[in-house]
Symmetry: C2
């Protein structure tokens, strides 16, 4: 089969690799229908995080079950399914608590020895604990499938940020970052009843989506100027809940600074700035909480799926370009150069 392989910085290729196959009784093989490229894939693409040359890449996909191991009971061949961005056994203490990302048997697509999401098929370990069935009717509905694809990561991650930041009905929320996760954070905050949502971002095409998703205000400034702008919009106090969806030192510093005293920052941007942006003295004086991390997408999939199917949320607009599998390298370039927000891969 063909799949995306990362050889080094700025070097992803679509190559022939061994076919995905059931290896253990809990495995399933999913034939990919849609996949996509994540902002976090760019950290590897840019060489900021190291990958073993030849490693697979991609962690967001949905598709059709092609084969199952003897022990798999929750999905059958032919089922349309979506996978969260980590697999998990579904039975351990952490999975039962809804923190599937801490499952000791869990793993991340594309780690050495596993398939990545940006390929024609994926071997799914712990299929019963990992995969979520989608309605068969969705198969013919490209728009709906695209929205469902967002559940594998960005929508679930935006929701995680909103929960971590303790978004509640009536809350004033600020979202740092206008990437796909930040935009999904806006959607998640609105879904949880936020009254006012300030989106921080400087790309009009993206902040336009933020407004469609429920942002009531947009702040294009950065750094100190952004802090002042948000404070001015919030009666001097800042936002009850701040969603940090970038992961740099500057974005973390901004997020903490615009939180209201007693408020919380829900951070889901993979932190690449170390802790230098975490102003712990300011957090201490103002009782600002820092919560979040890698989103247990599997825990959120059922409720978010129900709301996508019911038309309550539609994250599909975060995808602004489609490429076939052969176009994945071009998709990385486009996202790296910010000419695409989020690239969908069709099969």
């Amino acid at each position: 089969m063909r799949a995306t392989v990362i050889h080094g910085p700025n070097d992803v290729r679509v190559e022939e690799v061994p076919d995905a196959a059931v290896r253990g009784p809990g495995d399933a093989v999913v034939r990919t229908v849609l996949a996509c490229i994540c902002g976090s894939d760019l950290w590897a693409y840019r060489g900021v995080v190291r990958r073993t040359p030849g490693q697979r890449i991609g962690h967001e996909f949905l598709g059709v079950v092609e084969e199952v191991g003897a022990d798999v009971t929750s999905v059958r061949v032919g089922d349309l399914v979506v996978a969260p961005f980590v697999w998990s056994d579904g039975t351990c203490e952490f999975c039962r608590e809804g923190l599937h990302t801490s499952c000791p048997r869990g793993g991340f697509w594309g780690t050495p020895g596993s398939d990545g999401g940006q390929g024609e098929a994926v071997r799914v370990p712990y299929a019963d604990g990992t995969l979520v069935r989608l309605p068969a009717e969705a198969a013919g509905d490209d728009r709906l499938l695209t929205a469902l694809l967002a559940l594998s990561d960005v929508m679930a991650t935006g929701h995680h940020a909103a929960l971590a930041a303790r978004v509640r009905p009536g809350a004033t929320v600020a979202v740092v970052g206008d990437g796909a996760v930040g935009l999904c954070g806006v959607l998640a905050a609105r879904r949880l009843g936020a009254e006012r949502i300030v989106a921080l971002g400087r790309h009009p095409a993206r902040t336009d989506i933020a407004r469609r998703f429920g942002a009531t205000d947009v702040v294009a400034q950065r750094g100190e100027a952004a802090v002042e702008a948000v404070r001015e919009l919030t009666g001097g106090h800042g936002a009850h809940a701040v969603l940090e969806a970038v992961g740099t030192e500057e974005s973390m510093r901004t997020a903490i600074s615009i939180a209201r005293d007693g408020g919380a920052v829900g951070y889901v941007g993979v932190p690449h700035g170390g802790s230098a942006g975490v102003d712990v003295r300011q957090m201490f004086n103002r009782n600002v909480t820092l919560a979040g991390g890698v989103a247990p997408a599997r825990a959120y999939l059922p409720e978010l799926l129900a709301d996508v199917l019911a038309g309550v949320i539609d994250p599909a607009p975060v995808f602004d370009r489609s490429v076939p599998l052969s176009g994945v390298p071009e998709g990385y370039r486009a996202m790296d150069e910010r000419t695409a927000l989020k690239v969908r891969v069709t099969f």
Copy 2:
């Protein structure tokens, strides 16, 4: 009147100062009955945080109301009262939400222009928002008064750490630091229903108190060895709730490392280590929350007071030495040299 004045590192003196007096209609003057020295006073004593030479010091006291301004309605001359370690107006948005430490009119005892707690009397601004009445009967009960004195800071701060760390019935809790706040954190965790409480500390006199307060286990190691010991005690997973009551880089690093995935660190040690101990990447991967800050003691006083009066909690054992006002400099030395845990000042 006589009060404690800090002139520089290792230089606190008891001196004649202007009498405390009502200046505004919301003020009260409290004649001090008991005060104490705080671990956080030592940061100033050691010169780690700067004080203006000649500034007053001390922020924990209880006493008898000696004079009130025209607008004061909640306390009367002769009332026995305790003060939280910051004053607050009691009417602003933050006070109404229970975050009195963010009251825009609030302030910290001993800041220039205000009286400190380690003196014969204290002018209390916003007396109605700040002071809490104690039962008159307590006046004759030295042991009870001592327990009530702890409500001004350390017991309330331990409780804040426990709330921030989300201590719940049945939780496994770890407490980093065997100072008075850490010990009160043990007491607070037990009060909130923790099932297992691991106290990290290396001073047997202190960890003995921790055991009396409810600690089920004591870990005397530090750093990596402490992390291993706590993990071993908790089935490899760490504690659901970690109370950080020191404020150094190492203690913060330890606290984060011993939190269970999905758990929370409630930090109340005034952070003097910057953010270097905040391992944000580890927090991200394991969804560890960092919450806490300066404790809104005023918010907690009514419920903690009720429990002290009912005999549910007794923080008095954190005081292991008493000095008269003239002995305050000796009290600082004793705490600095760790020959005293927490020094009470009698008047």
